[in-house]
């Protein structure tokens, strides 16, 4: 291939371009970099630092003792449980949907793509309200659920459903362009070599898309843990029972328990940071392998 193919090579080539070392060019360069850094500092780094600073304001003992609170523990457990249910389900759904869209031509395909995008466009509060309207006491299925003593809203199923709704585009969105770009040739080769459908999927398709898939799962997980709006509507904020970490942070904050609130917040942030680090590592090894 002619020309540079990745960012590093592009930068290297740009630096050899005639006129590159003129005063104007370097001035513009530093200006652009400076503006970006200031922006990042003000909007991201400072608040993040503030979260950790507030959390350890009263010392490490106070920080760790806030995790001893049973309600806090319940919130952490609920968050992890929700993510553990939502992420696998959405992964399977995402792969299926991406497969359909990338490999087949059918009526209503563009409608399906639009539907997958819907949760990204709709406000999370609305997503939550949908479930309240459907399964709430006065909702469509409310009376029937009541008779059969099934609780969905203000319980774990409601939280899981709302989180699932909000996070289901992530895996599919990540895989659709990847699968379209990679095409069908390897699968066809596998079939002519005698492989069946499942064998082809696990040995050829899945390894082929694994980096895109991992990336999609990480994004999905991050959103599942951090979701506030939709979950807040369906959870009913029953302390120790239906509060996830983001909801619990809000409760603690409203009770002026700043150390507790910021301690849980710092933990949530840490989870996000860890997720991002994993993402970066995955991207790097993905590039290297390609």
């Amino acid at each position: 291939m002619a020309g540079p193919s990745n960012a590093g090579e592009i930068a290297a080539e740009l630096s050899t371009r005639p006129g590159h070392r003129s005063l104007g060019a370097s001035l513009v360069r530093w200006l652009v970099i400076g503006v970006s850094l200031v922006f990042l500092g003000a909007l991201l780094a400072a608040p993040l630092a503030a979260v950790f600073a507030m959390a350890i304001e009263k010392g490490w003992t106070a920080y760790f003792s806030s995790f001893a609170d049973p309600d806090t523990r319940a919130a952490i457990r609920l968050t992890l449980l929700t993510a553990a249910i939502v992420v696998p389900v959405n992964t399977v759904f995402g792969i299926t949907a991406a497969w359909c869209i990338a490999k087949f031509e059918f009526r209503g395909k563009s409608f399906l793509i639009t539907m997958i995008d819907l949760p990204l466009a709709v406000s999370p509060v609305v997503s939550g309200l949908i479930y309240v309207l459907l399964f709430g006491l006065n909702g469509w299925f409310g009376a029937w659920l009541m008779e059969n003593e099934i609780s969905i809203v203000y319980a774990l199923p409601g939280i899981v459903l709302a989180t699932m709704f909000v996070t289901f585009p992530y895996v599919a969105r990540e895989l659709i362009p990847l699968m379209q770009q990679l095409g069908n040739d390897e699968e066809e080769a596998a079939i002519t070599l005698g492989a069946g459908g499942w064998f082809t999927f696990f040995r050829v398709t899945l390894p082929k898309i694994r980096w895109g898939l991992v990336y999609g799962i990480i994004l999905c997980n991050a959103r599942a843990m951090g979701e506030f709006g939709a979950v807040s509507v369906v959870s009913g904020n029953i302390r120790g029972l239906t509060t996830t970490m983001p909801l619990h942070i809000e409760i603690l904050y409203n009770e002026y328990n700043f150390v507790g609130a910021f301690a849980v917040a710092s933990m949530l942030s840490l989870l996000a940071v860890v997720t991002l680090i994993i993402k970066t590592l995955v991207e790097r090894s993905g590039y290297r392998r390609r």
């Binding site: 080769a189 070599l193 005698g194 492989a195 069946g196 390894p207 392998r289």
Partner: protein, 597 residues
């Protein structure tokens, strides 16, 4: 037979991309499917592999009908143009994939892998990933992978497409050697004629979804039966000549030519002759030529290409000179292409502008019944309008022939003889015009409605068995240039006393003759009722349909078929007329094998 395809048809959105193709590939044969892009050759290969379903026909491998067998159970090896290696697997895992699927033991797998890597000269590359190999090496791995499970048939889809010339040739040799060593039946798809010549035992040339000709490379090059094969396999100058009882001639000069069919009924007619660039002799004067003189001309252009010198010569317009067919009708003055070797060039060095005399060392006459078109209308301007009709324009372009114009005002007097297929507009006066043209020597008349689209289906019907052969020949020639399906329409009058047996036999005879003598695969349909009504009914079943009609009685055009030609909006109708006096008895007496027209 190792691979047998029987009347395979594949349609995409009702357009046939593979059109009634029948091929037989012998055990251990290297068969090359050659055609331009979009000719349906890759689709056909995928159909053999089972990756594409077919709408009609049968496919069998080694006598086993696999038409409905899944791709994974067909046991073929397929090599893709872009290799399609499993990117995340090492070379070893790629090659062992088919063996793993078959649950072969690890030790046996390793032994087989060693064997294969040696076969494609890639020993020691086992642990590399495909990304770490060059294009040529990747394709070698793909070949080894496709051969791992010892398939009975190896299929290659443009395997050298993405490689540069030198590696291409090296890989070509490897594949040929591997094929010989294993004796495996192989089908390779390519658009590169050089590749086809270098590899093939047998070449099949495809265009517009049809298999045009099959033969060994030498026969196809020296004796093509169709214009397309003549021009696609190497360069060719196409010349218009006239054939009479005395033989072939250009203007007034008689020539010796190969491939000419015996005359039909002693009627002089126009033929197309193929003159390869290397078969043109160049001399300073007519007397210097050792071969048959064809024309004088002026050198327009000289291109040096290393081993060969390429000349383009403009022919002088003289009555004795040959007439050259250009690529298009209005593309101006076509030039004759000549190649000379270095010794020939040294003998007679030429500069641009030099006057030369040209001779033909070897001429081959195409047995095609459609040589050129002649647009006929009351005035020259109207004739020019017919020549611009989209269907006629696309036909003449695809056939690489020309459309001449002729004013035939008032249908009076004795016109100059007609050459080629006459084309007129449809309408109420069409039938009289057809009758008049045929009385004055026209053998084929194409009646064109305004803005008729290229046909998707061509119905073929003849009124008398005496005109069967000619109708089939014209139909075959037409259908090689449009991607339409051919349907023979047999019509039995209602309450016919002879019963169903005779028409059925006629139907089957027609089909087998079409296939054997003209290379034309056609479906057959039997209708019961009045001829014109049934034809009209069938033509009306869909849009863009066309009719080829063979008649033996000139007045039929003016009477029985009058309504057909006057219908609005109407269909393109190609009428083929042969007098009954040249009847089947005389045809049967001819001993020469009839090759595809």
């Amino acid at each position: 037979m190792s691979i047998a395809l029987d009347q395979v048809t594949k349609r995409y959105q009702d357009q046939p991309v593979v059109n009634d193709v029948s091929i037989e590939v012998g055990e251990g044969e290297f068969f090359v499917l050659l055609g331009p892009s979009g000719s349906g050759k890759s689709t056909l290969l995928r159909a053999i592999a089972g990756l594409t379903g077919i709408d009609h026909g049968r496919i069998s491998l080694h006598g086993r009908d696999v038409t409905h067998v899944r791709a994974r159970d067909r046991g073929v090896g397929l090599v893709f143009q872009n290799y399609a290696l499993f990117r995340h697997m090492t070379v070893a895992d790629n090659i062992e994939f088919a063996l793993r699927v078959r649950r072969m033991k690890a030790a046996e797998r390793r032994a087989r892998r060693k064997e294969l890597l040696q076969l494609v000269a890639l020993e020691g590359m086992d642990e590399r990933l495909p990304g770490q190999l060059s294009g040529g090496q990747q394709q070698r791995v793909a070949v080894a992978r496709a051969l791992a499970h010892k398939p009975q048939v190896l299929l290659l889809d443009e395997p050298f497409g993405a490689l540069d010339a030198k590696i291409r040739e090296e890989l070509r040799r490897t594949i040929r050697a591997v094929q010989r060593e294993l004796g495996i039946t192989t089908v390779l798809v390519t658009h590169d004629q050089e590749e086809a010549f270098a590899l093939a035992d047998t070449i099949g040339v495809m265009n517009h979804g049809r298999l045009l000709e099959v033969g060994n490379p030498n026969d196809l090059y020296t004796q093509p039966a169709t214009r397309f094969v003549a021009t696609f396999l190497g360069a060719a100058n196409l010349l218009l000549a006239r054939q009479s009882v005395d033989g072939i001639r250009f203007g007034a000069t008689p020539l010796s030519a190969e491939g000419a069919e015996p005359l039909q009924g002693g009627r002089e007619h126009e033929v197309v002759a193929v003159l390869r660039p290397e078969e043109v002799e160049v001399g300073t004067a007519r007397e210097d030529l050792s071969s048959d003189f064809i024309a004088r001309g002026a050198v327009e252009e000289i291109v040096f290409t290393g081993a060969l010198e390429r000349l383009r010569v403009r022919l002088l317009d003289e009555p004795s000179a040959a007439q050259l067919l250009g690529a298009g009708s209005a593309s101006g003055d076509p030039l004759i292409e000549i190649t000379r070797t270095q010794p020939q060039r040294r003998e007679l060095p030429l500069l641009a502008g030099a006057q030369v005399a040209l001779g033909a060392r070897r001429l081959h006459v195409l047995p095609t019944p459609i040589s050129s078109f002649l647009a006929c209308a009351p005035t020259e301007a109207e004739a020019a309008e017919i020549a611009r009709e989209p269907l006629l324009e696309s036909l003449s372009t695809r056939m690489k022939t020309r459309v001449s114009l002729r004013a035939i005002d008032g249908l009076a007097g004795t016109p100059a003889p007609f050459a080629g297929v006459a084309a007129i507009t449809a309408g109420s006066q069409a039938s009289e015009t057809v009758e008049w043209l045929m009385r004055h020597g026209a053998g084929e008349v194409l009646v064109l409605p305004k803005n008729a689209p290229s046909p998707a289906r061509v119905f073929i019907h003849w009124t008398d068995e005496a005109v069967r052969r000619a109708t089939l020949a014209v139909s075959a020639s037409l259908l090689r240039h449009v991607s339409a399906e051919a349907v023979y329409l047999g019509i039995v009058p209602e309450g016919d006393a002879t019963g169903r047996g005779t028409p059925m036999r006629k139907l089957l005879d027609a089909r087998s003759e079409a296939q054997q003598s003209h290379g034309l695969e056609m479906r057959t349909e039997l209708a019961i009722g009045e001829t014109v009504t049934e034809i009209t009914r069938n033509l009306s079943t869909g849009s863009s349909q066309m009719l080829v009609l063979g008649i033996t009685d000139i007045t039929q055009a003016g009477t029985a078929y009058r309504t057909l030609l006057a219908a609005q909006p109407g269909w393109p109708v190609l009428i083929v007329y042969r007098s009954k006096d040249w009847g089947p008895g005389r045809q049967a007496a001819r001993s020469a094998p009839e090759i595809a027209a």
